[in-house]
Symmetry: C2
């Protein structure tokens, strides 16, 4: 398990390549069970604790393009997951309110999402959890640094 890794970068490259593909599959599966698309899944999840958010914030959080988000929101609104309301303070801005149905979806989604990761963790020795988490945290911040520097 803890053998030497003379080419750690190659190993990490390979692992993240595989993980990326499989994690995408994982999200598609989850989204499908909730009868939504992956982009909608991300959009709903972007709310986190919040019940309503301006479109602008959603664009930032999801890193979807504005026009893409507009259409995703239109679809979700048509299906009753949310309503869009013009902000009275700044009428250019639109606030998206999750409906009861939307909040319900968000909760089920989050539960399932965490449950999936619990199942994954169950396959990993308990004493390795903490180091895995800090490793992933390290990786995320490093990756973000790379993304921000390389143009």
């Amino acid at each position: 398990m803890f053998k030497q890794h003379p080419h750690a970068a190659a190993e990490i490259a390979e692992l993240t390549f595989q993980l990326l593909a499989d994690c995408q599959e994982k999200e598609e599966r989850l989204a499908a069970t909730l009868k939504i698309h992956v982009a909608e899944f991300r959009c709903i999840r972007a709310f986190r604790g919040d019940r309503s958010l301006p479109v602008k914030t959603l664009v930032e959080r999801t890193t979807l393009s504005g026009s893409r988000l507009t259409r995703i929101l239109s679809s979700l609104e048509k299906r009753g997951y949310l309503q869009r309301v013009i902000d009275t303070a700044d009428r250019r801005s639109i606030t998206v309110h999750l409906s009861k149905k939307g909040i319900d979806l968000a909760q089920r989604l989050e539960e399932r999402y965490i449950q999936i990761h619990q199942e994954i963790l169950n396959g990993i020795p308990k004493d390795a959890h903490a180091t895995l988490i800090s490793g992933l945290q390290n990786m995320l911040s490093s990756l973000r640094k790379w993304l921000s520097t390389s143009r």
Copy 2:
């Protein structure tokens, strides 16, 4: 750093959610620098050491649909990265040969890909590398188990 994680699953869920989004961005950036699309990137990378492979194997390795792969291969072939040759032993089967240009692309791609991960590793303490790698390995096998069992 190594604080307690009472809700490890939630933490992992959050981290992988973020990592997935950023890793996708990373692959898009890399593909863009090589003037190919992400699906083409995966297709090229699926060759690994091999210089030529049957289409069937590529379908399996990339988990792209047959028709999708056909079109990706057509595009890459038109741009001179590969040739398709009918297998003489089984004329239903088509073997894809990377051209010199294609092998060159595959090499540059792999170099850059590893280099990126080296840069990411540089931002992580060296003594954490081995545990990160084994953690990711654990996660990948666990994830695959989950994917195979859940329907």
